[in-house]
Symmetry: C2
Subunit: 556 residues, 2 copies
Amino acid sequence: MAFTAPVSEQRFVLDTVVGIDELAATERFAAATPDVIDAVLEGAAQFAAGEWAPLNRVGDTVGARWTPDGVVMPDGYRAAYQAYVEGGWGTIGVSEEHGGQGLPFVVQAAVLETLGSANMGFALCPTLTVGAIEAIEHHGTPEQQALYLPKLATGEWTGTMNLTEPQAGSDVGALRATATPRGDGTFSIKGTKIYISFGDHDMADNIVHLVLARTPDAPVGTRGISLFLVPKVRADGSLNDVRVVSIEHKMGLHASPTCVLSFGDHDDCVGELIGPEFGGMRAMFTMMNNARLNVGLQGVQVAEAATQKAVDYARERVQGARAGAQSAIIEHPDVRRMLLRMKTQTMAARALVYYACGQVDRAGMGDAEAKDRLEITTPLAKAHATDLGNEIASIGVQVHGGMGFVEETGAAQFFRDARITPIYEGTNGIQAADLVGRKLSLSNGGAFASLITDMRAEAQHPQLTALVDACEAVGRRLQTADADDRQAASYPFLTMLSVATCGWLLERQARAQGADAVKQASVAFYLDQIVPEAMGLEAAANAPASQLYALTADAF
Amino acid sequence: MAFTAPVSEQRFVLDTVVGIDELAATERFAAATPDVIDAVLEGAAQFAAGEWAPLNRVGDTVGARWTPDGVVMPDGYRAAYQAYVEGGWGTIGVSEEHGGQGLPFVVQAAVLETLGSANMGFALCPTLTVGAIEAIEHHGTPEQQALYLPKLATGEWTGTMNLTEPQAGSDVGALRATATPRGDGTFSIKGTKIYISFGDHDMADNIVHLVLARTPDAPVGTRGISLFLVPKVRADGSLNDVRVVSIEHKMGLHASPTCVLSFGDHDDCVGELIGPEFGGMRAMFTMMNNARLNVGLQGVQVAEAATQKAVDYARERVQGARAGAQSAIIEHPDVRRMLLRMKTQTMAARALVYYACGQVDRAGMGDAEAKDRLEITTPLAKAHATDLGNEIASIGVQVHGGMGFVEETGAAQFFRDARITPIYEGTNGIQAADLVGRKLSLSNGGAFASLITDMRAEAQHPQLTALVDACEAVGRRLQTADADDRQAASYPFLTMLSVATCGWLLERQARAQGADAVKQASVAFYLDQIVPEAMGLEAAANAPASQLYALTADAF
């Protein structure tokens, strides 16, 4: 059975978790009427199922290929991307001023979810363009905005993010790419960047590379970094001096070319500064924070797709008997448990990511509380939703039995594709460090305290309230713990707080008008069975770093 | 850095968990002196590192290939297999009577662990031969034993297990392959079998297929199944009528050809009965129970290999700073947590599997209590150790960051290879069903009660004793629960009981003479941080099946 976007679930989450009606009541998002939202979700569902889902497998088996003339996408991708551009699917979340539809970020996220469930590797391309748009919208000059945003909005041009270098991964401050003034206001860019998703391809007329580099005499570390815009094709139509050195041979996500890009091999790579000199980290975070949410969204994408495939298989596969009668495996208790877990955890991931995305829209209108909430939920959404995407894809393989290990079935592709999501856009360990480092102390601890307060005000299930209490206690302790102890506890704490947040949002859904039997049963399962698992992490979240260092590095 | 077998850890586990000295004190295993064990472990370590590990990557990238003349292994495999045969590595656990060295099954397991850590796909071939040997040793006639066992012991011939058919996977009773008497005591075999690992290859002179089939007028279901031996090459040197139809295109384990075999296309496939007619299930369980332990062992194999690779990478990769100084990532608390988890969970998996393997040796000498213990720990060893193998391989990818998703690094291969282990030889769900079905009630519940009693007698850590108590309570409840409730709780219960068992065996190790700092630190981490996680499963293990059926199959 083909992929079907979960439109009514998406709509329900927008209503109950995001409060889309509140957003639509603002001047900025007046266009987001219920009819428009329905039309967008339905339209995206049809488009994704019809145009992108059928290309998912060839994206995996053939994949993007490097040639001396650049990266070539598999057959069908160019046309399907053109259909995306023509359908206006890229313009959803871009402001009307810059050629977009001016709908909320969270609605754009719902569309990206649908596209990515149909074809995750493909959907990474517009996901990156969204990041480039954000950076230029917030930090570009009016001229830069006028030149680049309309083309990026439609998707006629695509965007990339160029941060990583071989010696500078999680430690972005170690980067060495240089930007030398050319005397005309532009810069000459030189350096090598790795892991550049869609760093090259043949689907768009131009590619807008956003590149972190150092100007001459810049301070060391992150303070000396600036952001530059380097177009593949310059304004005069000439090719810029950017070369694809190679593409990676990856475990999954084969439709997405992961490039090594060399800038300025011939000292003729022209870039322009985006934002102020040394403002690179700030601009990068603009681009990256929302990109982190969109990677969390990839967790939702793969979770939904894997769940649908596993449910279909379990309904059709007859094996063994229950209560004396031959039955499809969906009738067997342990298979049922796996499927319900998949379905419920998918709901949890979606609730968490949509919730955070909704805060982008609120924060964008100056809501300071929403900005805090966005900051503290971003690492949860990125890390926990991608962890769930991986867990769910793995259960999907298991439900298929031997067929899950055979590539033709497709369950294996989800499992392989999903594995990058806890790694890129800041590893999940980096997210956990961000949570216990910057986010717990944000607004003097107010961002954390207000999340706890909101959860406590609504949470009713005894296991959930116990988890909220435990999160508060651990979080408060970590606020004053030393750096090592904080980080040692960071990952278990991140998972506890994520599950608490998901439980809170799911319980709210179950209480809402229109919650159907599927929702009720799924939420009950989550609260009764999954929330207690998170309590099992409390010991680790309270353990000191000294336990990790009882063993020397040499002794491992 | 190349793979190095953990010889001293293997030896320590044999001493403290298995009680190898007790086995060596028996007449049957008098050969298992400390010197011999050391020589075997050391020799296997050198052989595996020198001959098999270097072929791991080509096994993945080139893999076994199907040709019209049969399956061809990648370059180097034939010679490396020949070296295995000449080194006598297959003969370790086979009785001296049949050309073996007469060492304990658990010592053979240690050797297989080493071979499989070096090259898991390759090691599956001798693993299957072990299963064939067991079946023939227990159920074959003296003539069959004399004909087949010496060649299987050396590995000159290899063995396969042919159970699964397209409609008969977990439900083996649904199989349809037929065996018709030919009037001379032999049978004509006809049918198609799928997922036959090493069903064909070019490394040995003959392949001994053990095939489940039905004789004419056999009862339906499992009661009507008999086991047949079908050699690839018949005694007169002619080829038997067995054809490789295709091999699967799998996510991992590419060095292991997974064949579809067609028996009797030309009505000329000759097989001989092993054991009595209709004794197929019993013979299959002989072969399969130990095969289950050997699959659990694959969890240990991949865990050890993935851990070593991740530790090496984390020591070398410099990124970011700790306490103000640039450092290798192994110094960062969250990376440290991942590595310690990998190391500790590998120890846990090894303790569990070796312990169960030791019971094979004790049970084989008529120890009824050991037989019960073997029965109840087999599903734990198979399911939990393979779950751990997957978890650890996944953490290994994570430690590598972006490099983990790039195939050249090798971390991805472990992740892909490991994924089959929770599926084959009875899915882990089937193991859980076996635990709560057959095993909890074994010996009127005595097998379970005695395990709890033994754990309680030794366990000291408060979290561990709490977990043992919880396991006892859940297990007792499940003994009288109805089938659906039992199965609904089966998987969380299996994990709880497995963690309790691992904790018990690890705590024993930490107390033992010779326990070094690595062991102490690892065990402390396990007891303080991992055991409590298992307590988080108690709610799920006590939840009724009705929660899973609150949603109809259509509503998913």
